[in-house]
Symmetry: C2
Subunit: 421 residues, 2 copies
């Protein structure tokens, strides 16, 4: 029988006791931000649990990591502390177990009152202070499609792509939490070889559906992490929308890579779903092909089976919703792309070697660049058409792994386009 | 007559009262880090000056910005506070002025004893917590030389270079302070078209002489800074060594730009020389050519005349110094390259539009890639030869502007190569 919480959780909730994703929230607009876990329609305030002395394990008792405005201190403690927190919270929230020690929350009305806040009332903020942010070019199909559009079919994928993870650093200070409005950036574009460049609001504003990995303890400068231990550094995953201005990107990216076309805003979902919660959904990766150099060869090559089944794009105009759920992504395996954020000085040689898993079919395309083939065709959606995003459009991603009678879900990652000022 | 401090400052010092660069230091190895300014052979402890109530101006009285372990809070206050701090400190350190108010440090032996620490005894640490770090491709000659080596003479400089600032984000967590040893990185290289890639210690380890701009207040996401106001966001400059593994860089950088070949360590000098201290050395920039789009056109195009005259490369082997000062860079005008670090959420469209000023002559080449033309020829230095850096080599940069009877200098930016483990 599946583990159940004493808190009632609807069967289609993303946040049953099997999930317990971590985030940072404000109970009231003026409250200081604090750590919490999602449980059904509630957020459990970990600062209250911590002050009440209920984290009694060796790693967390006496620690002030849950009295911080972000999760960095908790993440720096590493996997043993993460597992201890999860076990403690599953015990506290369980309704199955009746050992007195584990009913300290359930049978304490005043503590329940203080620590359980309705999710509808809280404001979620960025869960971590992000030191560095790296965007990996993980999906072979995405790489090939972009390559054909930007460089032609002969040079679609550069040979290095098959030999090592290709990535660039993004701007960590422009990462925002789900719900933040995105202002259409102005920048320079260059439509064709002989025309002069222009400056103005981006004409090819796009989204990119991605999964981002939040890296915990990190490593010392000059001490690389072995590829077989890289997983231990990943605390969990969030959904990410890597908003992209294709006209700016196409003109600026040679030879130093994407820059302003990517750094005007990047949205993540607020709840970090831990690898421990995703473990029941682990599955084999495709074989690494070609055989990589030994330093990149994984002994166990693991993916997680997450359906991005609730991905929806709402194209709105003047606040009138034109259509509901229109695009459905079913990718049987993570990960379209893996992002790694490091909080500490790091020089991990290879943080995310997960090969691309995006499917080849157009239905699994993760951005308008691919869906409209760089604006050459229109996407028809319940009567409206789009080549790229228009002002007022809102894009909402969702993702979920379905277990036996429960979900481990990510909630949503959303953002709405505001016009350039 | 030039302004003088009551503290004796030797005429060739980089740190007279005209300079007063800001840094973060520890008076003793176990002390908490705190802000200071360099004056002659001393560091003035700003936390002590602040606690003593000597910052009496409207922006700084009552502020705890000098009781922090980095300069971020001070930098966030913006240019009016920076000017107030400089004026207050010049008054306190002056020996010319005998108004009682301005002798509060000079005539207070106990305060002098507490607040003035011999520079030889302190440990300098990183002056700022760096949120984002951007490397601009500013020097046309460097761009052309790299382009010829990596892509051939036909495609040496991409057309976008002449139209907008080309840049990429670096890894901010691998920026270290002068004196930190640099471990030779391991990575993947690919010597020629038909050979398989290899993994191992970099075979083409290089330095890059750069100037870095430290950005203060920043801007809100989506609210660009006007190019004519960009200077107000720059607090000051430091020397930077953008250590580069050319074999790793050449293989990985298409199409997303430099990544691991640049992110194993980047060294900066510890003292931030303010733009206010450099103002006497301001000079006209070369005319922007071609005429940029209006959003990039500067009304006043200013450079600073800084001689990188003390740049020295010490190639050492087994701690035996093989040669003293060997390379001399005389560039009459800043800036080989401008780096911009932002501490806050930023989406400045153009933070550094300073055109390149590096000279064309080989004597002004700022890296071994250019000096040895990617290892095709050797550099002969007092009997030793180098194509790229060897383990044990130490590279030391220095830079200085010479005024009438005083210098405004940067001190040194140094690092020594340790072997791969
Ligand atoms: Ca992306
Ligand atoms: Ca550089
Ligand atoms: Mg991205
Ligand atoms: Mg650099
Ligand atoms: Ni890049």
């Amino acid at each position: 029988m599946a583990l159940k919480s004493f808190i009632e959780v609807s069967p289609d909730s993303h946040f049953p006791i099997q999930n317990l994703p971590f985030g940072i929230f404000k109970p009231e607009p003026a409250s200081p931000p604090r750590p919490g876990v999602a449980i059904g329609d509630y957020v459990l305030d970990l600062s209250t649990i911590s002050v009440s002395g209920l984290f009694e394990g060796p790693f967390l008792s006496g620690s002030d990591c849950f009295l911080q405005p972000n999760l960095n201190k908790f993440l720096a403690l590493g996997r043993p502390a993460w597992k201890e927190a999860r076990a403690t919270l599953q015990n506290l929230l369980s309704g199955m177990i009746i050992i007195s020690d584990e009913a300290k929350l359930r049978d304490n009305p005043s503590l329940r009152e203080k620590s359980l806040v309705p999710m509808s009332k809280v404001e979620m903020v960025l869960p971590i202070a992000i030191g560095d942010y790296t965007d990996f070019f993980s999906s072979m199909y995405h790489a090939r499609n972009c390559g054909i559009m930007f460089r032609g079919p002969e040079n679609a994928i550069n040979p290095n792509w098959f030999q090592l993870p290709i990535a660039y650093h993004g701007r960590s200070s422009s990462i925002v939490v789900s719900g933040t409005e995105i202002i259409r950036p102005k920048g320079q574009g260059h439509p064709s070889g002989n025309s002069p460049p222009y400056f103005g609001p981006s004409r090819k504003l796009d989204f990119e559906l991605e999964m981002a990995a939040v890296v915990g303890p990190g490593n010392e400068l000059g001490k690389p992490v072995d590829v077989n231990e890289a997983g231990d550094h990943i605390f969990g995953l969030v959904l990410m929308n890597d908003w992209s201005a294709r006209d700016i990107q196409a003109w600026e990216y040679v030879p130093l890579g994407p820059f302003l076309g990517k750094s005007f805003g990047t949205t993540i979902s607020p709840w970090i779903v831990t690898l421990d919660a995703l473990e029941p959904f682990a599955c084999n990766s495709p074989k690494q092909d070609p055989q990589p150099l030994p330093y990149l060869a994984e002994k166990i090559s693991k993916n997680y089976d997450i359906s991005l089944e609730e991905l929806r794009n709402f194209f709105c105009s003047k606040r009138v919703m034109i259509m509901p759920s229109v695009l459905r992504f079913k990718s049987n395996q993570l990960v379209k792309k893996i992002h790694v954020w490091s909080q500490e000085a790091t020089s991990i040689t290879c943080k995310a070697s997960a090969p691309c898993i995006a499917k080849q079919e157009p239905e699994s395309y993760g951005c308008l660049l691919e869906l409209t083939w760089n604006g050459q065709k229109s996407l028809s959606l319940n009567g409206a058409t789009r080549k790229f995003l228009e002002d007022g459009d809102e894009v909402i991603f969702s993702g979920c792994s379905k277990g036996d009678g429960y979900n481990v879900g990510f909630g949503t990652c959303s953002g709405k386009i505001l016009p350039s000022p």
